[in-house]
């Protein structure tokens, strides 16, 4: 696994070492090791049931690992109960205390921090200002809108000024329009406070919009960690490629390494040039993002097929090209300018730039 280094060279804030957690016979978290830098915005991305929430709950202390260690700075958290861990969590359901006012919710975590009454009140006021909810201190959670509840939950989780904040699907319950706005707000708050955030999400677009680095989980394992762009452009497996966005996967056999690192791959559609590693003769797939495919006239050279579908999507057009072997390829392009646009039923060629094609294990 190409584990890219955290953005700063200093000692990691959070360090997970070979953390394993079983539920019965099911291995929910499988030997996960991860370093997180201070001030980093990290997203754990994966489909439901991949173990990302369990990993978060292990860090928060609601689950105990079967083996492995969890350290925060110098402290070993592994054996500490949740109320003694210097990390806080924002829950997917928000978990606001329904029998308390907004202010009492925010102040709940301040007990035991050695603040006097005035300091507590001031902290609550600061938190309300941070999430733009001034004037809501006396309201009960039940009287707030979803977006307001989300902000109270965030403020409450930040009340103890943790160095690490865990967020379980923080935007999952918001509608689409609000979500985009809240993403930007979350990012701004994280930058301003310098707190490390670990966000669990199943939404790749959200992860890419938020994170400095993304960790992709599959079947309890952390399969790839890196900045969003790296994961999108150089996925390590077809799983990661498919999770991060739409992708064409073409099966083939890998040829020998050629000068410049370019590999030729024999596929049912013809020979493709791609980049990536692997032994010559190995069965592989070539992954190409639809927006990197170039659709042209018959004379242009490349793979030939018949345009079977062209869907207008406003800012771009999505094409589907039926190939000779019965498969179809997806391509998308910005709206064609002055040039003639291919029409459905026409024979077209699909060109794949070598730098856009990645060789992945089959």
């Amino acid at each position: 696994m190409p584990d890219s280094a955290p953005p700063t060279a200093s000692a990691p804030l959070l360090r997970l070492e070979r953390v394993i957690k079983h539920f019965g016979a099911h291995r929910a978290v499988d030997a996960v090791s991860l370093d997180l830098a201070g001030g980093e915005f990290f997203c754990l991305l994966g489909p439901s049931g991949c173990g990302k929430s369990t990993l978060l709950r292990l860090v928060a202390g609601f689950e105990a690992p079967d083996s492995g260690t969890i350290r925060l700075g110098e402290a070993d958290l592994t054996a500490l109960p949740p109320h003694r861990r210097p990390v806080n969590m924002m829950f997917q359901s928000y978990a606001l205390f329904p029998h308390m006012s907004v202010a009492a919710n925010l102040a709940y975590g301040l007990k035991g921090l050695g603040l006097n009454r005035a300091q507590s009140a001031e902290r609550v006021t600061d938190l309300l200002r941070l999430v733009r909810l001034e004037g809501f201190e006396g309201r009960r959670p039940g009287t707030l809108s979803g977006g307001q509840r989300q902000r109270v939950a965030l403020a409450r989780a930040l009340a103890r000024q943790p160095r690490l904040l865990l967020l379980d699907e923080p935007l999952g319950a918001l509608d689409r329009a609000l979500r985009e706005e809240t993403q930007a707000e979350l990012r701004a708050i994280q930058r301003r406070l310098g707190t490390s955030f670990v966000v669990v999400t199943h939404d790749a677009e959200e992860a890419m919009a938020l994170a400095d680095r993304i960790g992709v989980m599959e079947g309890g394992r952390l399969v790839q960690v890196g900045p969003p762009r790296e994961l999108y452009e150089r996925p390590a497996s077809r799983f990661v490629a498919g999770l991060l966005g739409d992708v064409n996967l073409i099966a083939g056999r890998l040829g020998p390494t050629e000068p410049g690192g370019v590999r030729s791959v024999e596929t049912a559609l013809g020979t493709l040039c791609a980049s990536g590693a692997g032994e010559a003769g190995a069965s592989v797939v070539v992954a190409i993002r639809p927006e990197r495919m170039v659709i042209g006239g018959v004379s242009a050279g490349g793979l030939t097929g018949k345009l079977s579908e062209a869907t207008f999507l406003g800012d771009r057009v999505r094409y589907r090209v039926a190939m000779a072997d019965g498969t179809s390829l997806r391509a998308s392009a910005a709206l064609p300018g002055a040039g003639p646009a291919p029409s459905v039923g026409e024979a077209v060629t699909v060109t794949v730039p070598a730098d856009a094609a990645r060789v992945l294990p089959a």
């Binding site: 109320h83 806080n88 975590g109 007990k111």
Partner: protein, 258 residues
């Protein structure tokens, strides 16, 4: 509603409540004869409140109901918490069954077994044995009521409290207990009425000087029904009805607030 449904409902309600309505009506009968209407009067309520032994029995009943409901409330809540919170511990199924068994056990058997126990350990029969016996059979009911509420409680509320630095005691008294309080009170009220109503178990385990109201009424009825007993029964129906209404209001309210 169709005519059939309406008729069926009317018949069912008549079947259930006609005897009670007759009893309530005759408690306001001026005549001393139970079956002959002699005009409206509240004289039997006056007679009732002047009847020292009957009042004493009512006080015994109230005292036993309050004490046993308090004990059952605490024990039942603890039992519900244990069943709900500690996952699949060894013997959980057996424990659940044991808790619910007294609810379906014939009261004669519960009463007899408690009597044997009290005699066996040499405990003098009286208020104390009544309280213990009623607490025993009401605990299961409280556990069911509180357990239903706990099942609907979002576990992440307690986790959030712990995450914010609260130890187990602060989580329980600050979060869990306030949120399940309506069901605990409803369970208490249920246990209270169960104790107030009970005749069979009380007959086994009470002793001299600890005659409950149902026992007193039953023994008087055996000598012949008189309108005073109708009046006492009417007051008891009113008391139990009010308590049950309060309990259902509490359980209904928590369901809509959650």
């Amino acid at each position: 509603m169709s005519l059939f449904a309406r008729t069926a409902l009317a018949l069912a309600l008549t079947f259930l409540y006609a005897p009670i309505l007759v009893l309530v009506a005759y408690s306001f009968n001026a005549s001393k004869l139970v079956t002959v209407w002699g005009g409206f009067s509240t004289r039997w309520y006056g007679v009732l409140f002047a009847d020292g032994p009957l009042i004493a029995s009512a006080l015994v009943s109230l005292k036993v109901a309050a004490l046993s409901a308090a004990i059952a409330g605490v024990l039942g809540t603890c039992a519900a918490l244990a069943l709900d919170r500690h996952g699949r511990f060894r013997g959980r199924g057996a424990y659940t069954g044991l808790l619910y068994a007294p609810m379906v056990m014939p009261e004669v058997i519960t009463g007899l077994s408690l009597l044997l126990l009290f005699v066996g350990i040499g405990l003098d029969r009286g208020i104390a044995t009544l309280v213990i016996a009623h607490a025993t059979f009401a605990t299961g009911f409280v556990a069911v009521v509180v357990g239903a509420r706990l099942k609907g409680l979002d576990r992440s509320l307690e986790e959030a409290a712990a995450d914010l630095g609260a130890g187990p005691a602060r989580v329980f008294f600050g979060i869990t207990l306030p949120l399940i309080a309506p069901s605990v009170v409803a369970g208490f009220l249920l246990a209270f009425t169960l104790s107030l109503d009970d005749l069979v178990i009380a007959s086994f385990v009470s002793g001299p000087g600890a005659t409950t109201l149902p026992m007193r009424i039953y023994s008087q009825v055996r000598l012949g029904v008189n309108p005073e007993i109708n009046a006492a029964s009417t007051l008891m129906i009113a008391a139990v009805g009010l308590v049950v209404l309060a309990a259902s209001w509490l359980t209904g309210r928590k369901a809509s607030a959650a």
